[in-house]
Protein backbone atom coordinates (compact mmCIF):
# COMPACT_ATOMS: atom_id res chain seq x y z
CA UNK A 1 0.00 0.00 0.00
CA UNK A 2 1.48 3.32 -1.05
CA UNK A 3 1.30 6.06 1.52
CA UNK A 4 1.81 9.71 0.70
CA UNK A 5 4.79 10.92 2.69
CA UNK A 6 5.67 14.45 3.81
CA UNK A 7 8.57 15.88 1.85
CA UNK A 8 10.27 18.12 4.39
CA UNK A 9 11.03 18.40 8.07
CA UNK A 10 11.23 16.00 10.96
CA UNK A 11 8.36 13.76 9.86
CA UNK A 12 9.90 13.48 6.42
CA UNK A 13 13.19 12.25 7.84
CA UNK A 14 11.42 9.87 10.18
CA UNK A 15 9.21 8.41 7.48
CA UNK A 16 12.17 7.90 5.20
CA UNK A 17 13.83 5.86 7.90
CA UNK A 18 10.72 3.77 8.51
CA UNK A 19 10.26 3.03 4.86
CA UNK A 20 13.88 2.50 3.98
CA UNK A 21 13.73 -1.24 4.65
CA UNK A 22 16.17 -3.47 6.40
CA UNK A 23 19.76 -4.24 5.39
CA UNK A 24 19.54 -7.78 6.69
CA UNK A 25 18.05 -10.21 4.19
CA UNK A 26 15.82 -12.89 5.64
CA UNK A 27 17.02 -15.42 3.08
CA UNK A 28 20.57 -14.93 1.83
CA UNK A 29 20.21 -17.66 -0.78
CA UNK A 30 17.12 -16.03 -2.26
CA UNK A 31 18.78 -12.62 -2.16
CA UNK A 32 21.52 -13.88 -4.46
CA UNK A 33 19.38 -16.41 -6.32
CA UNK A 34 21.61 -19.28 -5.21
CA UNK A 35 20.28 -22.82 -4.67
CA UNK A 36 19.70 -23.50 -1.00
CA UNK A 37 22.35 -26.05 -0.01
CA UNK A 38 25.41 -26.12 2.21
CA UNK A 39 27.76 -26.66 -0.70
CA UNK A 40 28.08 -23.53 -2.83
CA UNK A 41 30.11 -22.82 -5.92
CA UNK A 42 32.48 -20.14 -4.61
CA UNK A 43 33.43 -18.85 -8.03
CA UNK A 44 29.82 -18.63 -9.20
CA UNK A 45 28.86 -16.90 -5.95
CA UNK A 46 31.54 -14.28 -6.45
CA UNK A 47 30.47 -13.67 -10.04
CA UNK A 48 26.85 -13.30 -8.97
CA UNK A 49 27.83 -10.87 -6.24
CA UNK A 50 29.78 -8.68 -8.62
CA UNK A 51 27.01 -8.72 -11.19
CA UNK A 52 24.35 -7.73 -8.67
CA UNK A 53 26.51 -5.01 -7.14
CA UNK A 54 27.23 -3.59 -10.57
CA UNK A 55 23.50 -3.32 -11.04
CA UNK A 56 22.43 -2.05 -7.64
CA UNK A 57 25.30 -0.07 -6.19
CA UNK A 58 24.21 3.51 -5.39
CA UNK A 59 27.03 4.88 -7.56
CA UNK A 60 25.06 3.49 -10.51
CA UNK A 61 21.97 5.41 -9.48
CA UNK A 62 23.33 8.91 -8.92
CA UNK A 63 20.91 10.35 -11.47
CA UNK A 64 17.89 8.79 -9.80
CA UNK A 65 15.65 10.43 -7.22
CA UNK A 66 16.18 10.20 -3.48
CA UNK A 67 13.91 7.18 -3.12
CA UNK A 68 15.67 5.30 -5.92
CA UNK A 69 19.06 6.01 -4.34
CA UNK A 70 17.81 4.90 -0.94
CA UNK A 71 16.42 1.67 -2.40
CA UNK A 72 19.70 1.07 -4.22
CA UNK A 73 21.63 1.57 -0.99
CA UNK A 74 19.39 -0.88 0.86
CA UNK A 75 19.49 -3.46 -1.87
CA UNK A 76 23.30 -3.34 -2.10
CA UNK A 77 23.59 -3.60 1.67
CA UNK A 78 21.40 -6.72 1.60
CA UNK A 79 23.40 -8.17 -1.29
CA UNK A 80 26.68 -7.57 0.50
CA UNK A 81 25.34 -9.01 3.75
CA UNK A 82 24.02 -12.08 1.90
CA UNK A 83 27.34 -12.61 0.15
CA UNK A 84 29.43 -12.27 3.30
CA UNK A 85 27.12 -14.79 4.99
CA UNK A 86 27.24 -17.38 2.22
CA UNK A 87 30.94 -17.10 1.47
CA UNK A 88 31.93 -18.09 5.03
CA UNK A 89 31.19 -21.75 5.82
CA UNK A 90 30.44 -21.18 9.51
CA UNK A 91 28.00 -18.36 8.77
CA UNK A 92 26.48 -20.24 5.89
CA UNK A 93 25.83 -23.27 8.08
CA UNK A 94 24.26 -21.14 10.81
CA UNK A 95 22.09 -19.33 8.30
CA UNK A 96 20.95 -22.59 6.74
CA UNK A 97 19.97 -23.90 10.18
CA UNK A 98 17.94 -20.73 10.73
CA UNK A 99 16.17 -21.13 7.41
CA UNK A 100 15.41 -24.76 8.18
CA UNK A 101 13.89 -23.81 11.52
CA UNK A 102 16.59 -25.12 13.86
CA UNK A 103 18.88 -22.20 14.72
CA UNK A 104 21.91 -22.99 16.85
CA UNK A 105 20.93 -20.38 19.42
CA UNK A 106 17.55 -22.00 20.01
CA UNK A 107 17.86 -24.67 22.68
CA UNK A 108 14.27 -25.72 22.10
CA UNK A 109 15.39 -26.98 18.70
CA UNK A 110 17.52 -29.54 20.46
CA UNK A 111 20.43 -29.58 22.86
CA UNK A 112 23.85 -29.50 21.23
CA UNK A 113 26.18 -31.57 23.35
CA UNK A 114 29.83 -31.15 22.52
CA UNK A 115 31.83 -34.00 23.95
CA UNK A 116 34.46 -33.19 26.57
CA UNK A 117 37.25 -34.40 24.32
CA UNK A 118 36.49 -31.79 21.69
CA UNK A 119 36.16 -28.92 24.17
CA UNK A 120 39.39 -29.97 25.86
CA UNK A 121 41.18 -29.85 22.50
CA UNK A 122 39.74 -26.41 21.80
CA UNK A 123 40.81 -25.18 25.22
CA UNK A 124 44.32 -26.55 24.77
CA UNK A 125 44.63 -24.93 21.36
CA UNK A 126 43.44 -21.56 22.65
CA UNK A 127 45.92 -21.75 25.55
CA UNK A 128 48.75 -22.55 23.17
CA UNK A 129 47.86 -19.75 20.78
CA UNK A 130 47.67 -17.28 23.63
CA UNK A 131 51.01 -18.37 25.09
CA UNK A 132 53.73 -15.87 24.10
CA UNK A 133 56.30 -18.69 24.11
CA UNK A 134 54.59 -20.48 21.26
CA UNK A 135 56.74 -20.07 18.16
CA UNK A 136 55.57 -18.63 14.85
CA UNK A 137 56.40 -21.95 13.21
CA UNK A 138 54.23 -23.82 15.68
CA UNK A 139 51.38 -21.35 15.16
CA UNK A 140 51.66 -21.91 11.41
CA UNK A 141 51.48 -25.66 11.88
CA UNK A 142 48.47 -25.32 14.17
CA UNK A 143 46.77 -23.09 11.64
CA UNK A 144 47.29 -25.62 8.88
CA UNK A 145 45.99 -28.58 10.83
CA UNK A 146 43.04 -26.48 12.01
CA UNK A 147 42.34 -25.59 8.40
CA UNK A 148 42.27 -29.29 7.50
CA UNK A 149 39.93 -29.95 10.39
CA UNK A 150 37.64 -27.19 9.11
CA UNK A 151 37.62 -28.72 5.62
CA UNK A 152 36.73 -32.09 7.08
CA UNK A 153 33.86 -30.69 9.13
CA UNK A 154 32.58 -28.85 6.05
CA UNK A 155 32.51 -32.11 4.08
CA UNK A 156 30.58 -33.74 6.91
CA UNK A 157 28.23 -30.78 7.07
CA UNK A 158 27.45 -31.10 3.40
CA UNK A 159 26.49 -34.73 3.95
CA UNK A 160 24.52 -33.92 7.11
CA UNK A 161 22.44 -31.24 5.41
CA UNK A 162 21.93 -33.43 2.34
CA UNK A 163 20.77 -36.36 4.46
CA UNK A 164 17.90 -34.20 5.68
CA UNK A 165 16.29 -34.64 2.28
CA UNK A 166 16.27 -38.36 2.99
CA UNK A 167 14.38 -37.68 6.22
CA UNK A 168 17.17 -37.34 8.78
CA UNK A 169 16.84 -34.59 11.38
CA UNK A 170 19.20 -31.67 11.86
CA UNK A 171 20.87 -32.75 15.09
CA UNK A 172 24.06 -33.85 13.34
CA UNK A 173 24.18 -30.66 11.28
CA UNK A 174 23.76 -28.57 14.44
CA UNK A 175 26.53 -30.42 16.24
CA UNK A 176 28.86 -30.02 13.27
CA UNK A 177 28.00 -26.34 12.94
CA UNK A 178 28.87 -25.82 16.60
CA UNK A 179 32.22 -27.55 16.07
CA UNK A 180 32.84 -25.45 12.98
CA UNK A 181 32.30 -22.29 14.99
CA UNK A 182 34.87 -23.37 17.54
CA UNK A 183 37.39 -24.23 14.83
CA UNK A 184 36.73 -20.88 13.22
CA UNK A 185 37.48 -19.14 16.52
CA UNK A 186 40.81 -20.98 16.64
CA UNK A 187 41.61 -19.70 13.14
CA UNK A 188 40.71 -16.17 14.22
CA UNK A 189 42.85 -16.47 17.35
CA UNK A 190 45.89 -17.55 15.32
CA UNK A 191 45.21 -14.87 12.76
CA UNK A 192 45.11 -12.21 15.45
CA UNK A 193 48.49 -13.29 16.70
CA UNK A 194 50.25 -13.76 13.42
CA UNK A 195 48.69 -11.49 10.82
CA UNK A 196 49.62 -7.83 10.93
Amino acid sequence: MRVSLPRRGFLARLSRRWCSGTAVPRDCYAELDVPRAFAVDAAALRTTYRRLMAEHHPDRHTLGGEQEQQEAANRSARITHAYSTLVRPHRRAEHLLELLGAPLSDEAAGEVVLDDGFLAQVMEARFEIEDPDTSVARLGAMRESNSSAIDEVCDQLGAAFDSRDAGADLSEARLLTARLKYLQRIEEAVSERTDT
Binding site: L104, S105, V112, L114, D116, L119, A120, V122, M123, R126, F127, R174, T177, A178, K181, Y182, Q184, R185, A189
Partner: protein, 121 residues
Protein backbone atom coordinates in the same frame (compact mmCIF):
# COMPACT_ATOMS: atom_id res chain seq x y z
CA UNK B 1 41.66 -32.32 49.00
CA UNK B 2 40.80 -32.91 45.42
CA UNK B 3 39.90 -30.88 42.38
CA UNK B 4 36.69 -30.88 40.41
CA UNK B 5 36.98 -29.58 36.85
CA UNK B 6 34.09 -28.27 34.82
CA UNK B 7 34.65 -27.70 31.09
CA UNK B 8 31.68 -26.21 29.28
CA UNK B 9 30.96 -24.57 25.97
CA UNK B 10 28.22 -22.44 24.48
CA UNK B 11 27.65 -23.62 20.92
CA UNK B 12 25.76 -20.52 19.89
CA UNK B 13 28.65 -18.16 20.59
CA UNK B 14 31.73 -20.38 20.56
CA UNK B 15 32.78 -19.58 24.12
CA UNK B 16 34.62 -22.16 26.21
CA UNK B 17 34.92 -22.02 29.98
CA UNK B 18 36.99 -24.09 32.41
CA UNK B 19 36.26 -23.83 36.09
CA UNK B 20 38.12 -25.75 38.78
CA UNK B 21 37.14 -26.19 42.41
CA UNK B 22 39.60 -27.16 45.13
CA UNK B 23 37.54 -29.04 47.65
CA UNK B 24 38.67 -29.74 51.17
CA UNK B 25 38.07 -32.88 53.21
CA UNK B 26 35.15 -31.11 54.89
CA UNK B 27 33.46 -30.77 51.52
CA UNK B 28 33.89 -27.00 51.44
CA UNK B 29 35.30 -25.15 48.45
CA UNK B 30 38.72 -23.88 49.51
CA UNK B 31 39.61 -22.24 46.23
CA UNK B 32 38.31 -21.81 42.71
CA UNK B 33 39.98 -20.81 39.47
CA UNK B 34 38.73 -20.21 35.96
CA UNK B 35 39.91 -19.80 32.41
CA UNK B 36 37.52 -18.53 29.81
CA UNK B 37 37.93 -17.90 26.10
CA UNK B 38 35.05 -15.71 25.12
CA UNK B 39 33.57 -12.27 25.43
CA UNK B 40 34.02 -9.95 28.40
CA UNK B 41 30.69 -10.99 29.88
CA UNK B 42 31.68 -14.64 29.82
CA UNK B 43 35.02 -13.89 31.46
CA UNK B 44 33.37 -11.68 34.06
CA UNK B 45 30.70 -14.31 34.77
CA UNK B 46 33.27 -17.01 35.45
CA UNK B 47 35.43 -14.63 37.46
CA UNK B 48 32.51 -13.58 39.66
CA UNK B 49 31.46 -17.20 40.06
CA UNK B 50 34.86 -18.33 41.33
CA UNK B 51 34.74 -15.61 43.96
CA UNK B 52 31.15 -16.43 44.85
CA UNK B 53 31.73 -20.15 45.50
CA UNK B 54 34.78 -19.76 47.73
CA UNK B 55 34.06 -20.92 51.26
CA UNK B 56 30.72 -22.43 50.35
CA UNK B 57 29.83 -26.08 50.66
CA UNK B 58 29.35 -27.98 47.44
CA UNK B 59 25.66 -28.22 48.18
CA UNK B 60 25.39 -24.43 48.50
CA UNK B 61 27.51 -23.85 45.42
CA UNK B 62 25.39 -26.19 43.33
CA UNK B 63 22.43 -23.94 44.04
CA UNK B 64 24.07 -21.03 42.23
CA UNK B 65 21.64 -19.19 40.02
CA UNK B 66 22.65 -17.53 36.80
CA UNK B 67 20.27 -14.68 37.66
CA UNK B 68 22.46 -13.78 40.66
CA UNK B 69 25.51 -13.59 38.42
CA UNK B 70 23.66 -11.58 35.77
CA UNK B 71 22.23 -9.13 38.28
CA UNK B 72 25.56 -8.55 40.00
CA UNK B 73 27.30 -7.89 36.70
CA UNK B 74 24.33 -6.02 35.25
CA UNK B 75 24.52 -8.18 32.14
CA UNK B 76 22.41 -6.99 29.21
CA UNK B 77 19.76 -9.42 27.92
CA UNK B 78 21.92 -10.48 24.98
CA UNK B 79 24.64 -11.68 27.42
CA UNK B 80 22.48 -13.61 29.87
CA UNK B 81 23.64 -16.89 28.36
CA UNK B 82 27.15 -16.12 29.69
CA UNK B 83 25.89 -16.31 33.25
CA UNK B 84 24.12 -19.55 32.35
CA UNK B 85 27.42 -20.94 31.11
CA UNK B 86 29.10 -20.08 34.43
CA UNK B 87 26.31 -21.85 36.31
CA UNK B 88 26.80 -24.91 34.08
CA UNK B 89 30.54 -24.80 34.73
CA UNK B 90 30.14 -24.93 38.51
CA UNK B 91 27.68 -27.81 38.30
CA UNK B 92 29.98 -29.67 35.93
CA UNK B 93 32.92 -29.19 38.31
CA UNK B 94 30.92 -30.52 41.25
CA UNK B 95 29.78 -33.49 39.20
CA UNK B 96 33.37 -34.18 38.18
CA UNK B 97 34.51 -34.09 41.80
CA UNK B 98 31.71 -36.44 42.84
CA UNK B 99 32.46 -38.95 40.13
CA UNK B 100 36.11 -38.92 41.15
CA UNK B 101 35.02 -39.60 44.72
CA UNK B 102 32.84 -42.46 43.57
CA UNK B 103 35.67 -43.85 41.51
CA UNK B 104 37.95 -43.70 44.52
CA UNK B 105 35.35 -45.36 46.74
CA UNK B 106 34.79 -48.14 44.23
CA UNK B 107 38.52 -48.65 43.79
CA UNK B 108 39.17 -48.83 47.53
CA UNK B 109 36.79 -51.79 47.78
CA UNK B 110 39.19 -53.78 45.66
CA UNK B 111 42.00 -53.70 48.20
CA UNK B 112 44.12 -51.82 45.68
CA UNK B 113 44.71 -48.23 46.73
CA UNK B 114 44.60 -45.73 43.85
CA UNK B 115 47.82 -43.77 43.33
CA UNK B 116 47.64 -40.26 44.79
CA UNK B 117 48.38 -38.74 41.37
CA UNK B 118 44.80 -39.47 40.25
CA UNK B 119 43.54 -36.85 42.72
CA UNK B 120 45.92 -34.14 41.58
CA UNK B 121 44.20 -33.45 38.19
Amino acid sequence: WTVGTGLVGAPACGDVMKLQLKIGKDGKIEDAVFKTFGCGSAIASSSFTTEWVKGKSMDEASKIQNSVIAQHLKLPPVKLHCSMLAEDAVKAAIKDYQSKQEGRAAASEEYKPEPASAAAQ
